[in-house]
Amino acid sequence: MLIFGAAAINAKAGRVTVTVGARATVRDVLTALREQHPGLRFALPNPDTGRLAVNQTFARGDHDVKAGDEVALITLLGGG
C-alpha cells in the first residue's frame, strides 16, 4: 500500500505491505493496517476516518480490493 507525508516519514518508507484474505474490502484493509502497522495508527484516528484510494479514486468501506489494485492511504493531508 502506498503511504505519504507524515505516515511515510514515520514508516521510513513510501510503501508498506498489508496482508489480507483473498476477499477483502477497503474496511478489511484498514483494519489489517492498524493491526500489522501499529506505528501508523497515529494517521488513522479511528478505522472509519482512514480513507483509502483504490486505483487513484476514493473507495468506500464496502469496496472490494482485488489483487493488483493500487491502494493508497490518503490521510493527514497538507495542501494549501
Partner: protein, 153 residues
C-alpha cells in the same frame, strides 16, 4: 475586451500542479484564467487567494511550538491530486454558480516567502465568490492528496 452577447457564458475551471513555487511564469503557462480581470460585465467580483510559506510552523517534536523553517516540501500523489483538483474546481464552480475557478498548487520545494498555492474565483456577486473560495480551500485540505513536509532551519 468587448462585452459578449447577452447570454451568460458557461463556467470555466482550470487546475494545475506546478513544480516549485507558483510564480508569474507558472501562471502564464497555466493559461488565460490567470490573465487578469474578466471585463465582459458578467463578473462583478473576483477574489484571488495566495498561500505563502511562512517562516515558522508548529513542530510536533516540540509540543507543537512554532519553529523556524526554510521551506516546505510538497508531495503529491499523481495523477490523483490533479484529478481531485479538477473535480473540486468544477464542483465548487457549479455549486456556487461561479463564472470561473482557477487553481495552481506547488509540488516539491517552496521556500519561506514563496507562493505554494493560488486560487482565483470569479462570480457575479461577492457572496458567491467568498463562499466558493472558502469551500474550495476547506475541501482541498480534505480531498486532494497533497502532503507537506517542513524543512526545519
Amino acid at each position: 475586451m468587448m462585452p459578449d452577447p447577452s447570454v451568460s457564458p458557461t463556467c470555466r475551471a482550470l487546475a494545475a500542479i506546478v513544480d516549485g513555487p507558483v510564480n508569474p511564469q507558472a501562471e502564464a503557462d497555466a493559461g488565460r484564467l490567470f490573465g487578469g480581470t474578466d471585463r465582459t460585465g458578467w463578473v462583478g467580483a473576483t477574489l484571488r487567494f495566495e498561500g505563502i510559506v511562512r517562516r515558522d510552523e508548529a513542530h510536533p517534536d516540540f509540543g507543537g511550538e512554532p519553529r523556524s523553517l526554510v521551506a516546505l516540501d510538497y508531495q503529491t500523489y499523481d495523477p490523483m491530486a490533479q484529478q481531485q483538483l479538477d473535480i473540486l474546481a468544477r464542483n465548487v464552480a457549479e455549486r456556487h454558480g461561479l463564472r470561473s475557478v482557477a487553481v495552481l498548487h506547488s509540488r516539491g520545494r517552496v521556500g519561506v516567502g514563496e507562493v505554494s498555492f493560488v486560487l482565483i474565483v470569479a462570480a457575479a456577486h461577492r457572496a458567491e465568490a467568498i463562499a466558493g473560495l472558502t469551500e474550495f480551500i476547506d475541501r482541498m485540505k480534505q480531498d486532494v492528496p497533497i502532503w507537506k513536509q517542513p524543512i526545519w532551519a
